[in-house]
């Protein structure tokens, strides 16, 4: 064992030690170096370059140094000192909203004092109203406006929830803690700020969110792919600076994982319709829908109080309306429906509805099924026209089993109908929006089609005076004359004398016809007993009868009633 050999041997062993030490210190140095450059560098080094000696001090703010000896308390000298369990302590029945594990560590500093960090910090740009106590104003200790943490995320949860990825297939970037719980550290790496906000994954196109949340039909939907940008006007729809396009912001266009305006579903805005209208007012989306709801007659989305739930049962739900009742933001696509199509277009994909038979359908096939969800199950409570058949349940009137109905759910019952606009035949079908539509829509404009708002009562595309009396003119019945030719009606010498009733006696179409359907008579005959204001229109005849008896063939009939002082007892045509 000469000197050289022993030297070589010691170098061999020492070399391995050295290499190991070097490797560890290099990786620690890299980690520390990265950490030193982030906001988590909490060393009291003041302004200026980070000092070399601060490297060991960097870690202690979260990794509390261990003391070998615990101090004995003077008032309790019988017992030795305590070593505290800082964040590995058993969960001890944590309630929702009580952080465990690594989240304890994060939230001990992210408390609004040591760090603001957007825990329960209002997001810049979210609109605040002092309205009724909904959203974060709701009282209760587990309504957090932040993404839940300290929850067990296992296969059972994924199966129960239905829209979560099984955690065994999570990408490696997402870290559950050793108890299988989702903590702050699932999405954030407190050591390195490779992505902004210490995120573990780049959140472009919602990659971070969709790593766990698998929303059906999201992939090809318009909100996931749109290249629209925000004009910069009004409140920003996504947290600034954000990404340039809607598709890149993806989930953040409507949701906030921290500081949500409305805690349930972590919606970004406290005011329910604002979540949609912040973009759909022309500042990001192509069409301006928001202005439609300012018209005098509109679906009252401004009254939405977060009643809507995605899993609601139309049969038992409390009556309400919000954008999400007719549009599914996760599934909507850009392809509009063809003109005159009865089936739902891209904007109404995967929306629940009620079929003409009254059954709930999870994804409506026909546009009218979405309308019937609210207008086809219950009677409305607002004042309206009173007819001989008092129902205002539209579904019951459009029912193809009725003797007459506008052909929405099925082809009409009158094969010999005349006087139709050439576009239509007796075999045509129409949709709700052929009558209930935007009254100011122009081709190529920024206004959308659809029953959002109208200047005409009943959200109609054109005027229809359903009052009594009404001076006959094209303008007053423009909606009807759109399809039913005015000249044919007023000039015909056979069939019902429309001219006398409409022009001479100034009775409205609505005095005899219900626009949706009649359960008792053909030709949509269902006499108006009282107007919206409650004034009487059609009353029984002198013999106390109020009815229409159809003749053997169309174009003939008998009426028993009194109207405008004229006693029909009976009158026959």
């Amino acid at each position: 064992m000469n000197a050289r050999q022993s030297r070589e041997r010691s170098v061999g062993r020492g070399g391995r030690w050295l290499a190991g030490l070097l490797l560890m210190s290099v990786s620690l140095a890299v980690l520390a170096g990265n950490l030193a450059l982030t906001k988590h560098n909490l060393t009291p080094s003041g302004p200026g370059p980070v000092k070399e000696t601060a490297r060991s001090g960097l870690c202690v703010f979260c990794h509390t140094p261990h003391h070998a000896q615990a101090t004995r308390a003077l008032w309790n000298r019988n017992l030795p000192g305590i070593t505290y369990q800082l964040y590995q302590s058993p969960t001890m029945k944590a309630q929702p909203g009580q952080p465990t594990g690594a989240s304890r560590l994060c939230l001990s500093c992210h408390d609004g004092v040591l760090a603001l960090g957007s825990v329960r910090m209002p997001t810049p740009g979210s609109q605040f109203t002092l309205g009724p106590l909904t959203g974060p104003g709701s009282l209760g200790t587990n309504l957090s406006d932040d993404h839940p943490v300290s929850i067990t995320y296992d296969s059972a949860l994924a199966a129960l929830q239905g829209q979560l990825v099984d955690p065994v297939t999570l990408p490696p970037a997402i870290h559950l803690d050793q108890n299988g719980q989702l903590q702050c550290t699932a999405c954030h790496d407190p050591h390195e700020e490779i992505n902004p906000d210490f995120l573990r994954m780049d959140d472009r196109y919602g990659n971070l969110c969709t790593a766990c949340h698998q929303i059906p039909f999201w992939r090809g939907s318009i909100h996931a792919t749109s290249t629209q940008t925000w004009t910069g006007a009004g409140t920003p729809p996504w947290p600034q600076p954000g990404f340039p396009t809607v598709g890149e912001n993806a989930c953040l266009s409507c949701h906030r994982p921290h500081g949500a305006g409305h805690p349930q579903w972590l919606m970004s805005q406290m005011d329910e319709p604002s979540n949609c209208t912040l973009c759909h007012d022309g500042t990001a989306a192509q069409k301006d829908v928001a202005t439609e709801f300012l018209k005098p007659f509109h679906h009252p989305i401004e009254s939405a109080q977060w009643t809507h739930r995605p899993d609601e049962d139309p049969v038992t739900m409390v009556r309400h309306v919000t954008c999400a009742d007719c549009h599914n933001p996760h599934a909507a696509t850009a392809s509009p429906s063809a003109p005159g199509a009865l089936t739902v277009g891209g904007s109404q994909q995967q929306v629940s509805g009620v079929s003409i038979a009254g059954a709930v359908v999870q994804a409506a096939t026909y546009k009218y099924e979405i309308c019937l969800k609210c207008h086809g199950l219950q009677e409305p409570s607002t004042p309206g026209i009173l007819r001989q058949d008092a129902t205002r349940n539209i579904r019951l009137r459009l029912d193809p089993a009725n003797p007459s109905y506008h052909p929405v759910a099925a082809i009409g019952k009158n094969p010999t109908i005349t006087g139709l606009d050439p576009k239509y035949t007796s075999a045509s079908q129409i949709g709700c929006i052929d009558c209930h539509d935007n009254d100011t829509w122009t081709a190529g404009g920024t206004q959308p089609r659809g029953p959002h708002g109208s200047n005409f009562r009943y959200l109609l595309a054109q005027q229809y005076q359903a009052d009594d009396p009404v001076v006959e003119s094209y303008a007053n019945y423009a909606l009807c004359y759109k399809c039913h030719d005015r000249a044919t009606l007023l000039n015909s010498t056979t069939g019902f004398p429309h001219n006398r009733h409409l022009v001479l006696d100034q009775a409205s179409c609505a005095a005899c016809h219900d626009a949706h359907g009649s359960r008792n008579n053909r030709a949509l005959v269902d006499f108006m007993l009282r107007t919206r204001a409650g004034l009487p229109v059609v009353t029984p005849s002198s013999s106390g009868l109020l009815k229409f008896v159809p003749g053997a063939t169309r174009g003939h009939g008998t009426c028993y009633l009194t109207c405008h002082g004229h006693d029909h007892n009976p009158s026959v045509y």
């Binding site: 909490l42 101090t71 004092v113 329960r120 974060p136 009282l139």
Partner: protein, 354 residues
């Protein structure tokens, strides 16, 4: 950086003794006035120093009955009861309890005498964003620090907005302490690493402190309190110590070290002083309150992680009233716990003997 588990035998002894202490009522020691109900610390046979009184999470806990007629809050929020959400700081004055609750974005004022609870959400034209600290004057006017808005507001005892007490130059106002005798408000600026003093009109008097680890320097200070001499005690959280200054900001003394054992700090937050001059420091990560003499001698630690009486979940602020009732804000248990400091009949120096 590893943790060493408590040796099994001492853990067993500890848990047995603590369980016994928490379960039994105070025995012997000449039946003192308070019909001893709550758990005491330290556990017998040591002389009890701290007794658990009660928890306050809803107005009902203070005997405030909410009737629909009188309480507009109950009407608006429907049938859901009023409850603290994520409180961080508490103070009382004139029998009213003031709780700063950034989780509810509000300052709660609970008044058992008038049987009402006021929830202050709006301050002038703004809304409270993160009201993290509160201090109260003897006349019932409250100061609320809003760390996000970078302001300290003045709010009347009826919840009325009175004005902005401090704003200019504040980076992140956190802890507040009000000196009734001198008419001074001390504001701890956490991200500014300094303490500012204002007079009763809101005019800035002076400030002290820079970012650092030396004497009189701060690293993210959080809460502050005053002792009976008007000295200002500041929790210098990320230097893991308490520093004390005189009323004009001159350094007096400090104590504290960083560690995971009793007598050190892992994340100190609220600080308060009882009538005997003992310093109480809330440690959020210990889920405990530790009591020291001003020279840093550890007297007692009470509290453990959990949800029951005497258990805490990331506690924050602390306030001791004139009757030595200790209010600890138990943030993630959404409540304020109240304890009684059991003062000895004669002058107590901190106890060379039990």
């Amino acid at each position: 950086m590893g943790k060493r588990k408590i040796p099994l035998w001492s853990a067993l002894v500890l848990s047995l003794v603590l369980a016994g202490g928490c379960g039994t009522t105070g025995t012997g020691a000449g039946g003192s006035a308070a019909a001893a109900k709550g758990p005491v610390w330290p556990a017998p046979p040591a002389r009890p120093r701290i007794r658990y009184l009660r928890s306050i999470a809803t107005p009902a806990d203070l005997g405030i009955r909410q009737s629909l007629g009188r309480n507009w809050l109950a009407r608006l929020s429907g049938s859901r009861p009023v409850h603290f959400v994520r409180p961080t700081s508490v103070a009382d004055s004139q029998g009213r309890l003031y709780v700063a609750d950034p989780g509810a974005r509000a300052l709660w004022i609970l008044d058992p005498t008038q049987q009402r609870v006021i929830r202050v959400r709006q301050v002038g034209k703004s809304l409270l964003r993160t009201p993290v600290a509160v201090a109260v004057r003897a006349d019932g006017v409250a100061f609320v620090a809003d760390s996000t808005a970078r302001r300290v507001y003045r709010v009347g005892s009826d919840g009325r907005f009175l004005g902005i007490a401090a704003e200019a130059g504040l980076q992140r106002p956190a802890g507040l302490a009000w000196d009734e005798r001198r008419g001074r408000l001390y504001v701890v600026d956490s991200a500014g690493h300094r303490v500012l003093a204002y007079d009763r009109n809101g005019d800035k008097l002076f400030s002290w402190g820079v970012h650092g680890a030396g004497v009189g320097e701060f690293n993210y200070p959080t809460y502050a309190t005053l002792d009976r001499q008007g000295h200002v005690l500041v929790t210098d959280s990320l230097n893991f110590r308490i520093q004390a200054f005189d009323a004009d900001g001159h350094f007096l003394w400090q104590f504290g070290s960083h560690g995971d054992t009793s007598g050190s700090f892992a994340l100190p937050k609220g600080v308060a002083v009882d009538s005997d001059g003992h310093v109480y420091v809330v440690d959020a990560l210990f889920d405990a309150v530790q009591i020291f003499r001003p020279d840093g001698t550890l007297l007692l630690g009470f509290g453990r992680h959990g949800s029951g009486p005497g258990r805490f979940w990331l506690p924050a602020g602390i306030w001791i009233d004139a009757q030595d009732r200790i209010h600890v804000v138990d943030t993630y248990n959404h409540r304020v716990q109240v304890f009684q400091y059991l003062r000895a009949a004669r002058q107590d120096t901190g106890g060379a003997r039990p």
